[in-house]
Amino acid sequence: MKKDMSLNKRRVVLEKFFHGVFLLAALIAVLSVALIIIFIFGKGLAPFFSGNEYGTYSFIDFITGLKWTPQSGEYGVGYMIVNSIFATFGAILVGVPIALFTAVFIAEIAPKWLAGIVRPAIELLAAIPSVLYGVFGFAVITPLVKQFSPYPTGDSLLAVIIVLTIMILPTIVAVVETAIRAVPKSYKEGSLALGASKIQTIFKVTLPAARSGILTGIILGVGRAIGETMAVILVAGNPESGIATTIFSRVRLLTTNIALEQGYAAKLHEQMLFSTAVVLFIFIMIINLVLAQIQKRGGDR
């Protein structure tokens, strides 16, 4: 029997309708980003131009300033930028190796039953709200740091790094483990059949083959570390000035600066908090761009 080939109107309309739905969803995401950027940059950059209704502030003083005292009209975020870099870099330095070894352990070395315990535990770690990490850090880590610290409190760069390290672990482990599992079994077999040991196979074949995924994990970890606010506030100490000179120094980061004062700030003070947000935003964009470049090169080889 010949099939009817005339147009099915209902189907055509339905197709068009869903095209529209998908487009709308995509536009919402793009629009949100655009709105956030316009809003933050609009408010945050205003103080650096003459004619601002709450008075202007020198951009150089802002970016290089080592003191944040709104009551006396000093708004310097230089020390926060440096501290943010210290904290993020520290957490990555400590967290990435631990995460890498954990992922290798789960994916390659652990017996099935043990991997079956460790993996869900790590996944659960990722689902815990960040404020709970902060509370944990406040209750356990800062008292611990206090034991060794030359200063009277345990609030410190070290405490921040420890909390951030624990926080980024699950993100990196999950991504890296998936990447390791995705390495074709034939690579491993090929390596072992050449008389390589299990450890040689992991370091020389499996991990290099998974490097693109490993970099993705690190990028996500950096993103999480630099943007984290709640957990950090509770253990950082948040002083009004000072670049960390030792790991026991109290620190204020870009994120915590905004969260701490947004509640009561007004006028120029409020605008300067948006300026802090601009710095944070640019900071994260630079890191993302750099890491994306690294990943592109790493993946191309």
Binding site: K112, P184, S186, Y187, E189, G190, S191, L192, A193, L194, G195, A196, S197, Q200, K204, V205, P208, A209, R301
Partner: protein, 250 residues
């Protein structure tokens, strides 16, 4: 002549499933031994017992013994050393995602060879041994993933040769290759058997007939027949062998 491998009363279990039943076979030195049989007959499993690749399967259990030059490889030996003596080439070409040079140098490096000059020599000799040198000598530092399938498989053979093994196991090495690449690999095997003992699993009866000196026919985990290749193909002793090679099943 003394056999390279002598296998006695070999049984292999995957959990409760017995994949190999009472295998007894003596594989001669410097000859090509072909293992044939229908899918799932245990020929690949058997091949993998010869360099203990089955150790990777958690559930695999083995009884009986396999001697390599008189030494039981299932006693307390260094498996990694065993695999440097018994190399393997897989069904699908599996070069590592690194340069051609690094692929060949991988095995020797894992054994601690660091001397640049020596590595260069090994790489050249191995590639020549696998009849690949002339095709790749100008791009040793390019990724091995850019080679054609047939070149990749010869690279894998070169990689195996680089370990200076005594035996090369081949698990359907040409099943993923086109006829021309297959022919090249087969010609290569002809060369290789002068220096190495070769054991090859193949699904192609013609291939077994063309290249092997001895043929073993497996069925349902049992070794049904093992003899000189012309004998197996012209005058099989077992009815089941005859049925299989004449295409009545499998």
């Amino acid at each position: 002549m003394k056999p390279k491998f002598s296998v006695s009363d070999l049984n292999l279990f995957y959990g409760n499933f017995q994949a190999l039943h009472q295998i007894n076979i003596e594989i001669p030195s410097n000859q090509v031994t072909a293992l044939i049989g229908p899918s799932g007959c245990g020929k690949s499993t058997f091949l993998r017992t010869l360099n203990r690749m089955n150790d990777l399967v958690d559930t695999a259990k083995i009884t009986g013994n396999i001697q390599l030059d008189g030494e039981n490889i299932y006693s307390d030996i260094d498996v990694m050393k065993l695999r440097t003596r018994v190399g393997m080439v897989f069904q699908k070409p599996n070069p590592f995602p690194m340069s051609i040079y690094d692929n060949i140098a991988y095995g020797p490096r894992c054994q601690g060879v660091k001397d640049k000059q020596r590595l260069n020599q090994i790489v050249e000799d191995s590639l020549r041994g696998a009849a690949l040198w002339d095709e790749v000598k100008d791009r040793l530092n390019k990724s091995a993933m850019g080679l054609s399938g047939g070149q990749q498989q010869r690279l894998c053979i070169a990689r195996a040769i680089a370990m200076e093994p005594e035996v090369i196991l081949m698990d359907e090495p040409t099943s993923a290759l086109d006829p021309i690449a297959t022919k090249k690999v087969e010609e290569l095997m002809e060369q290789l058997k002068k220096k190495y003992t070769i054991v090859i699993v193949t699904h192609s009866m013609q291939q077994a007939a063309r290249i092997s000196d001895k043929t073993a026919f497996f069925l349902m985990g049992e070794l049904i027949e093992f003899d000189d290749t012309n004998k197996v193909f012209t005058n099989p002793q077992d009815k089941r062998t005859e049925d299989y090679i004449t295409g009545r099943f499998g």
